[in-house]
């Protein structure tokens, strides 16, 4: 039923986008650390 409510749908989309963005940000941070270590070795 919540799919029919535009406001609930908007919140769901934004929540899922934020989650993906957070995962990408964490991944990028790990990558930068890994690159630094690889460059130093």
């Amino acid at each position: 039923m919540s799919n029919l409510d535009p406001e609930a749908e908007r919140k769901r989309i934004i929540r899922s986008r934020n989650r993906v963005f957070a995962v990408l940000l964490i991944g990028f941070t790990i990558l930068v650390f890994a690159i630094s270590l690889a460059k130093m070795s």
Partner: protein, 307 residues
């Protein structure tokens, strides 16, 4: 408050942003880039190698997003592309453009800072080549759009190679040339069976402008050219016999399938276009197999198993 939000369109899902990067095309880009990186004579640290491939993927994704931003109206008129996020109305054009620019800039900067500025410069060139030279300039103007635009898809192995070695030699240029000359028969085989779609939106694809007969002859021309070109890395001593023999076998099959398309008369109304569909499907397999053979050959030579 409720009245205002009711008229606001829903924001695009993250899946739509992902679809904007053309994941299926990207898989071929990642694969050829990885093969260029692995077949290079100098080894690269695995983390840096991963980063280089990630940058190639991000750059390709950014260019694909810019392509869809520019062609949203054309995509809406074609059955094959009407379901994409922009023509389907699931995303606004500004978001697509900003996403494309963001990905492109990020990929070039990361490549430059982590790998090297020569690889980053070639990556930047490939993005501009696809998003501007091909999409905006050539595609709507000339039936040779695919021939020159093929360069955009030919960059990944060159970038992969340069990321590993730091310089350009004959081998990565030949790999570039192989994809460059593979692209016209690959796309024209597709254009032959989706001709009506391209004609409907006014894109001057070869079958629409020059006709089927001319397109079929040109497919054959490029398939003939591809035979010696694909074996050239072996002839110049850049690879071993494993790659050379695989390249010759794969290219002979490519040529035989192209012969069926090239010597065929103009298809009648309601024709299933089976030879064209077979050539298109095989052309994808051909490129995967050829580059896989390149890496396998390099590995066998490094292990001392093959000469």
């Amino acid at each position: 408050m409720t009245t205002t939000t009711a008229f606001q369109p829903l924001p695009a899902e993250w899946r739509d942003f992902f679809a904007l990067t053309k994941p299926r095309v990207m898989s071929l880009v990642i694969f050829t880039g990885l093969c260029g990186l692995l077949a290079a004579p100098e080894a690269i640290h695995p983390i840096l190698g991963f980063t280089a491939i990630l940058c190639i993927a991000l750059g390709a994704g950014g260019a694909a997003a810019l392509n869809q931003w520019w062609e949203a109206d054309l995509d809406a008129g074609m059955k094959r592309t009407a379901g994409r996020p922009l023509p389907a109305g699931r995303m606004d054009r500004t978001s697509a453009r900003d996403f494309g620019i963001g990905l492109s800039v990020a990929s070039v900067l990361l490549m430059g800072l982590a790998i090297g500025w020569l690889a980053a410069a070639i990556l930047a060139l490939s993005i501009v080549y696809y998003a501007v030279i091909y999409t905006i300039w050539l595609k709507p103007r000339t039936p040779q759009n695919i021939v020159i635009g093929g360069g955009a898809g030919a960059f990944p192995p060159l970038i992969g190679w340069v990321a590993a070695t730091g310089h350009i030699t004959a081998m990565p240029v030949i790999l570039f040339a192989i994809i460059f000359f593979w692209t016209p028969p690959h796309f024209w085989a597709l254009a032959l069976f989706v001709k009506t779609d391209y004609a409907k939106v006014g894109i001057p694809m070869m079958p629409v402008v020059a006709g089927e007969t001319s397109t079929r002859r040109q497919i054959l021309f490029y398939a003939v050219l591809l035979l010696p070109l694909s074996a050239l890395p072996w002839f110049i001593g850049g690879t071993g016999a494993v790659y050379g023999i695989a390249a010759l076998i794969l290219s002979v099959i490519f040529l035989l399938l192209s012969l069926r398309v090239g010597l065929r008369r103009t298809a009648a109304e309601g024709d299933a276009m089976k030879p064209e569909k077979q050539l298109f499907a095989y052309s994808v397999l051909y490129l995967f197999a050829l580059f896989a053979a390149l890496v396998a050959d390099h590995w066998l030579v490094v292990q001392g198993i093959a000469a």
